[in-house]
């Protein structure tokens, strides 16, 4: 059963406050879920086995541990409070932000599920799988290594999609952009779907022999698919 118990309620009074939350079972990769209404989320790695959470000023945050996951969410409608999180390198993330600068993640390896409404999303030097969406902001992802046989997806409405993948990634690409342009370092077949036409451009193709599906979607932004190491 998933018991939720409240580990701490952080009420910073003008300066930053930091708490440490251990995973109940540190031998398995944990999951960190965080959401912010009005503030950015930054996730970095550290050598420890626990999750460190630091909030800058303003209102309270609730931090809950639930089995092998840690959930961080704002209590009430905080003003501009940014969230900084340090996690073990192998951790899965589920991050949501509405207003503010957006979400920044670096060096984490795991299943990353990230969405921002008005801010940008920047995942730098990450590994594993990424499912990421930025409605109005720019989506930048640099994947060091990808999990074998796992699908991924990247999308924006108005922002640029800029994804860098390892040169040997084996996948089936699906790229759809309604009004914006598509550029790729990888050779993708130029087959345009014609059976059930929908507005916009649609490219599908196998890369390095094919594999799981990787989708890239945008309406107004540009889509750039880059091969790591190519300028």
């Amino acid at each position: 059963m998933r018991w939720i118990w409240i580990l701490g309620l952080v009420c910073g009074v003008g300066w930053a406050e930091r708490i440490s939350v251990p995973f109940r079972d540190p031998s398995r990769p944990g999951l960190v879920k965080a959401s912010a209404l009005n503030g950015s989320i930054t996730v970095q790695t550290h050598a420890g086995k626990e999750v460190l959470v630091e909030v800058g000023a303003a209102k309270g945050w609730a931090v809950e541990e639930e089995g092998s996951s840690v959930r961080i969410s704002p209590v009430g409608q905080g003003k501009n409070s940014d969230l900084q999180i340090w996690v073990p390198e192998r951790t899965s993330l589920n991050l949501r932000s509405v207003n503010g600068r957006g979400i920044f993640v670096e060096n984490v390896e795991g299943d990353l599920d990230v969405e921002s409404v008005n801010g940008s999303v920047n995942l730098n030097n990450v590994s594993g799988t990424v499912v990421a969406h930025a409605l109005n902001g720019k989506l930048t992802v640099r994947l060091k290594q990808v999990s074998r046989d796992k699908p991924m997806s990247f999308s924006t409405l108005n922002g640029t999609v800029d994804v860098t993948l390892p040169p040997d990634v084996a996948a089936n690409f699906q790229v759809r952009n309604v009004w914006g342009e598509i550029r790729s370092d990888f050779a993708i077949g130029t087959a345009v779907e014609t059976k059930q036409p929908r507005p916009g451009k649609m490219l599908t193709g196998r890369v390095n022999g094919g594999g799981p599906e990787i989708s890239f979607r945008s309406m107004n932004g540009s889509i750039y698919i880059r091969k790591a190491g190519v300028r």
Binding site: L31, S92, N94, D111, D113, E115, T129, V131, A132, H133, L135, S147, K150, P151, M152, S153, F154, S155, L157, N158, V178, Q196, P197, R198, P199, P212, E213, S215, R217, M219, N220
Partner: protein, 233 residues
């Protein structure tokens, strides 16, 4: 204190025990009538059913707790294979069509289990897997539709919309697509709703949206282009 001594009789009456003497009392006792009325009113709280996913989650956990090896959905495939083998061992060829039924059922169980996964990537895989089923049953289509409507990830919802294009004319799917257009949804998802409705030949529905003044500009632009493009065909 009204009706002292009638406690047992009234309780038995509720359980359906016929008792003419008590029935006569009940006919002229407002207090007992009121209690019976309360009992009947309780029936107004209708039965609710748990989510269909509960059974799937239970089996997943049962599997986890009783077989601690393997990982993720591969274990499901393993279970499916084991059951298939045991079927072959015990059955003659006349049962092959039965067997097909069973196997198809198991594939669907795997599809449903994948759609319930915590990882968005696994759910994307579940969508691919479901879409690849030769003839998914209503439960799978309903699960995909639920994913389209309620998944926590926009990308997963868009992938579900793509997978459901084949079944766009199904009533469940049409219904969901219509709701996407009326509810306060992300423009990306609304556009997917337009695609689905056009695939279902529900052009009228899409045209109706033009009158919605609150429509997002991006959605409106897409809608006009989509309707125009349909005209060329």
């Amino acid at each position: 204190m009204p009706c002292r001594g009638r406690e047992t009789e009234l309780a038995e009456h509720l359980e359906g025990v016929a008792n003419p003497e008590f029935a006569a009392h009940l006919a002229q006792c407002p207090d007992c009538q009121a209690l019976l009325g309360m009992w009947q009113r309780m029936g107004g709280w209708a039965d609710e059913a748990p989510d269909a996913g509960l059974a799937v989650r239970f089996r997943q956990r049962l599997n986890n707790e009783t077989k601690p090896m393997g990982r993720g959905w591969m274990r499901w495939a393993g279970v499916a294979a084991a059951i298939v083998v045991s079927f072959f061992a015990g059955r003659t060829t006349t049962d092959v069509s039965d067997l097909r039924q069973e196997v198809r059922g198991l594939r669907e169980v795997v599809a449903l289990a994948l759609l319930e996964q915590q990882s968005a990537s696994e759910r994307l895989r579940g969508i691919r897997y479901s879409a690849a089923l030769e003839k998914p049953d209503e439960e799978v289509i309903a699960a995909l539709t639920r994913t389209l409507r309620t998944d926590s990830s926009v990308d997963v919802r868009l992938a579900a919309a793509d997978a459901l294009r084949r079944y766009a004319r199904t009533e469940t799917v049409k219904q969901a697509a219509r709701e996407l257009l009326t509810e306060n949804e992300s423009p990306m998802v609304q556009v997917a709703g337009i695609d689905l409705l056009l695939a279902a030949r529900e052009r009228g529905r899409v045209e109706q949206m033009r009158t919605n003044l609150n429509l997002d500009e991006n959605v409106r632009k897409y809608l006009e282009r989509a309707l125009q493009q349909e005209n060329w065909e």
